[in-house]
Every structure is written in C-alpha cells, then in structure tokens.
Amino acid sequence: MSVLWADKYRPKELSALDYHKEQAANLKDLTKEGDFPHLLVYGPLGAGKKTRIMCLLRELYGPGVERLKMETMSFTTPSNKKLEITTVSSIYHIEVNPSDVGIYDRVVIMDLIKHVAQTQQLNVNAQREFKVIVLTDVDDLTKEAQHALRRTMEKYISNCRIILCATTISRVIPAIRSRCLCIRVPAPTEDTIVTILQNVCKKEDVNLPLAFAKKIVDVSNRNLRRALLICEACKVEQYPFTENQQVPEPDWQIFIRKTAEQMLQLPNIKSLAKVRQNFYELLTNGIPSEIIFKTLLEELLKKCDRGMKTKVVEEAAIYEHRMSQGNKAIFHLEAFAVKFMYLYKNMLEQMVEVY
C-alpha cells in the first residue's frame, strides 16, 4: 500500500501510454524487428522518459526486465583510487548513473561498457543477441567520458545497445548525437495532466474536483510526476478536496522567496551575511544549486523594471555559467547576490535623484 501513485500507475506497456501515442507506435515498430540503434531519449523532468525506456525494454524482452536487483560494482581508476557505483539491473539490462562518481565517470563508462559488451548472451536462440545499457543523466557526464563513449558505441554494437537519457542535449557532444537515434519527449500538455490526474483519482476512489485539478497542474509546471505527488500529498493533508484548498508549496521554494525578499529590502553587507547562511542551509539540504539559482532569479526579477531586468539576466547568465564550471556553488551564488544588490541599490539611488 505504501507505493506512490506515480509509481503505481506508471504505464508498463507502450500501448498503455497516455500521450505521444504516435511516438509510442513508432517505438513499437522499432522493436518489431528485434533490433534497434542506440537511443538518446531527452525531455524535461517528469515528461516520462524513463517510463518510455522501461516500456521499450519490456516490449523487447518481456516481463523479465521488471525483476530488478541492486548491485554495487567497484572500479579502480588509473591512479589506484577505488570507486563504487550502484547499478540497477535485470538479466537483460543494466542501468547506471555514471555522474554519481563525479569526475571519474570516464572510468565507469570504459570499464562497464567493455565488461557488458564483451560478455555475450548464453542462449542466443531464445534471447536477443544484445544486452541493453541504460545510462541516465548523460548531460552531466564530463567531456572526457562522452569522448570515451564515441568509438565504444560503434565498436560493440553487435553485443550491446546503449540507451542514453538526458534532460537537455545541448551538453551532449555532437559526435554522440550523430551516433544515436534521438527521441524527443516533450512535457505533456496541461489538459493531458488533468485527464491523467482524474483517471488516477478515479481508480483510487478519490473525488477530485476539476477546478482543484487545474490548480495542481498550475503548480506542477507540466511535470507529471510532480503533479501526481502533489495530488497525493494534498489528499493526505485534507480530504475530501475543497475548491479553494491551498496547494502546498515545497519548503525550499518559500525559503528562497524569503531570501530574495531579504535581498530586496536591505541591499547591504549585513543582510548579505544572512543571505549566505540561507544559501548554505539550502545547499546542505541537498537542493541542487541550479534550481536555487533559477528560483532566486525568478523571485528577484519580479521586483525589477524592464531595463533592470535585462541587466540582471545578463549578469545571471555569466554567474550561472561560472557556477556550472566551478565546484563550489556557494561562491557564485553569493557573487551573484552581491552583484544584484549593487545593481539594485544603484537603481534605487537613481530613482531618488530623479525625484
């Protein structure tokens, strides 16, 4: 009973998918001949990339792929450092997130793929000739790791297929893109999410008013998984649903908003010290730095005029880029905060002068 709705009602077959049906049909055709090229599946969070991959695998291998086991594999880097990475695998496929080990991801890619690719399936007649390797968060891989993938993908194609999963392909090098069949998974439309929410609620015997469903969808930012989680959370909080029930916002969002307010009220050194503490708090709670940056920027921009917005966004683009380059996010968050305060203060002073 403790299964989340998002997992419980995850479609298991390509034909059961709720949206992008044409694509699903194409994917089904793809598996018909028992063979497919390397795939690169990309789309925003909660659009159903993983669901599609699992459906595809099931279509290929049958229900056996759902018997998963966790395994820890260990690798040794050339500098003799021991690494451990958790993989999820069935007898037909193996799923791994190489960016878990940070800059050593190249070693994982090289070893793992060669390892899997060099072992052949025992019973060739009963099974497919190849295994599938699912690599998640490919956009977070280092450039070296991506280069390592290039030739390996071509060389071992007779024994394994690689399915790559990414949120954006801007960071995937063109050489890899040109070796894969790219499959774009756009986020479901708002109406689709409403329909899915209602269907799920019906199955759960929960009465969901249309107006409230729309409210959830607004908050979820077209992220289906998030919508389902929020819906479930709301049910725990207050049921039956009322039309004007509050949809709870995540704590960190409120926290960032407060931080932004602090920066806007008192753009000085003193409040900067508090802002820094807030950033630390957020980071230690495991909120990814990109999300902090984006949310903060959105909150700050609400209070700026047109000219100021252009300037702030320009600066934000510079600092965000630096943040992704460096490895101490706090420096760049703080630098951006200072820059913003400076710009904002100048703007306020100019306004005073005008009057």
């Binding site: 394994c160 954006t168 774009r184 252009t310 320009e314 683009a317 880029h321």
Partner: protein, 362 residues
Amino acid sequence: MQITKIIMQAFLKTGKLDKTQPKSGGTSKPTKKSELVPWVEKYRPKTVADVVEQNEAVTVLEQCISGADLPNLLFYGPPGTGKTSTILAAARQLFGDIYKERILELNASDERGIQVIREKVKTFAHLTASGTRQDGKPCPPFKIIILDEADSMTHAAQSALRRTMEKETRTTRFCLICNYVSRIIEPLTSRCTKFRFKPLNESMILERLSLICKEEDVNCDDETLNLLVQTCGGDMRRAITCLQSCAKLKGRGQKIDPDTVLEVTGVVPDKWLKEFLDTCKSQEYGELEKFIRKLMLEAYAASQILVQLNEMLVVNDQFNDKQKALIGEKLGVVSYRLQDGGSEYIQLLDLGNALSKAYSLA
C-alpha cells in the same frame, strides 16, 4: 577423463554440446548478424579510391599503396568527413590480411595517459616489421599507429610522443586524427603531413544516400533525401545514421516523409523561432519568460535553436548591420556557455533580452 571434464564444463557453460566457440569481443562481426551492423559501418569505404572528395590525402595514400614511402599523417576536419575510414581503408589495402597485426588503434575510449604512450606505444613501435607477407607478397616494412580523437589526449601524453615519433621512423608511422588541429601541440603537427578534410559536398552525400536507399530497399523520395542532406551539414555519418533511424522508426517498406526526418534530426520547426523573434520584438518581458518556459518544456535543444537562429538572422533584412553584430556576439557567447554546461533557461533568456535590445535600436 580430463577431456570429458572439459566438455562437461563447456556444456554447463553454454548449454550446448557442440564445440565451444571462443567469442572475441565485439570486433568480430559474424555475417549472419549483418542486419545488426549499422549502415555507417556497412558502407564504410573499402578502398582508398572509394573515399570521396578528399583528393590530397587520397593521392598521397594511393602513391604509398603503389610503393612510395608514407609520411607521418595528421588528419583533421569536422566529424563525418571520412578521416577514420580513409586510414582504415588504406591500412587494409597496404597490409591485406595481416593488417590487424600491423596497426595499433587507440582512441578516446582507451586509456591514453602518459603511461600508455610510454609503454604500449613504445613497445609496439619497437617491433620490426618484415617487408613481405606470409604468402610472400610484398608489403611496406612498417606498422601504423592510429591515434584517433587525438585532440582529447592530454598535453603531457602528446609531448611524450614527440621523440618516439622521430626515433621509430624506421619501423613505424603515426596517424593522428582529430577534429581541431589547434588542440594538437605544435611540435607534433610539425612532424606530420597535415591533411584537412573538408565537409562533404551535398551532391556527394545525396548520391551515397540514394545508393544505400536502393541497396537497403528504403522507400524515400528525392525531396526528403535533399532535406536530410541539408540538415546534416556535410556530415556523412550523421546523414547515414539519420536515414537508418528514419527507416527503422517507420518500419520496413513504409515511406519516409519529411516530418520524420525533421523529428529525427531534432530540427526546431520554424514557427517556434518566429514566435521567439516576435516575442522579443514585443518588448514584453513577461511574455518572453513565459515563451521560453514553454519552449523548454517542448524539449528542443537550445544549441539547435541557436544554429537555426543564426542561419535565419544572417539573411534577414529586418535588421541592419549594427543590430546583427550585436545579436551575433550574443549568440556566440550564449552558445559557448551552453556547451560548457550553463542552464538553457537562463542563457536563452539572456539571448532574448539581447534580441529585444537589438529590436529597440531600430
């Protein structure tokens, strides 16, 4: 007794009672699996003469095949122009059946630190090669070390090559392959004969694709093929992979339509770009933010958007030169940051603002 034990073990391992076949990695490609081989591999040029367009390199290699000496080579050029294919074909022609023993191919997927250069490459280079094959035919008395994707080698490793390259000229030739010649250190480039591989002519790619279409029984008209060629920008591998993907996605015998091609190549439909420009023109920040958020949810690649915007803007007479310069600079900066890992949302927002600013200049 011993033998039965071995057979027992073999049986337990394979579940079959015939002879155990040693399977060696993925490099062997049994013919019965021919349909599993990607077309890119299947239609790699078999001989140097088959390589299209790259005249200089082909001439040199052909002379070498007919008996002349081979210099150290450095091939550079954009992806999919036939660099790896050329050298592999040449090696096959030079050495015939024994070409596997005579070449050492290292690429970015192999460990290529300074340690490997010192040990593996040096030991391989030290071996002498005879001037005849086993069957008595003459063949060049040297070996070839192919360093593919050489631009991803560290500088230390590249430096370690310098002296090795000179000392072993009697027995070994090096062939470095890279996309960007600027990432190879000067001392190495000066030791090699450089060949630039140009992006392929569109008609060449079209010809090749039509051939593959005929061979593989793909239903695709000329118009669609043209579109495919255009979106690939001179990259033969990309064109062939796209064609195979389209064919796979549609299933055998089905006709490939232009929409499928666009979807597979990830081209952003023009209506989105137009809307982007219009939103910027309106100078409404709120609208711009909303639009970019929507665009991100459609999962189009920001880098692709930049490429297409660039193409669109260069020929656009809506802007004067000054505005174009402004936008062009921003495009460059944003594209660099995106490659480096910046967030798509913020970078596109920045670009949008720059566009708005350019509009307001008019």
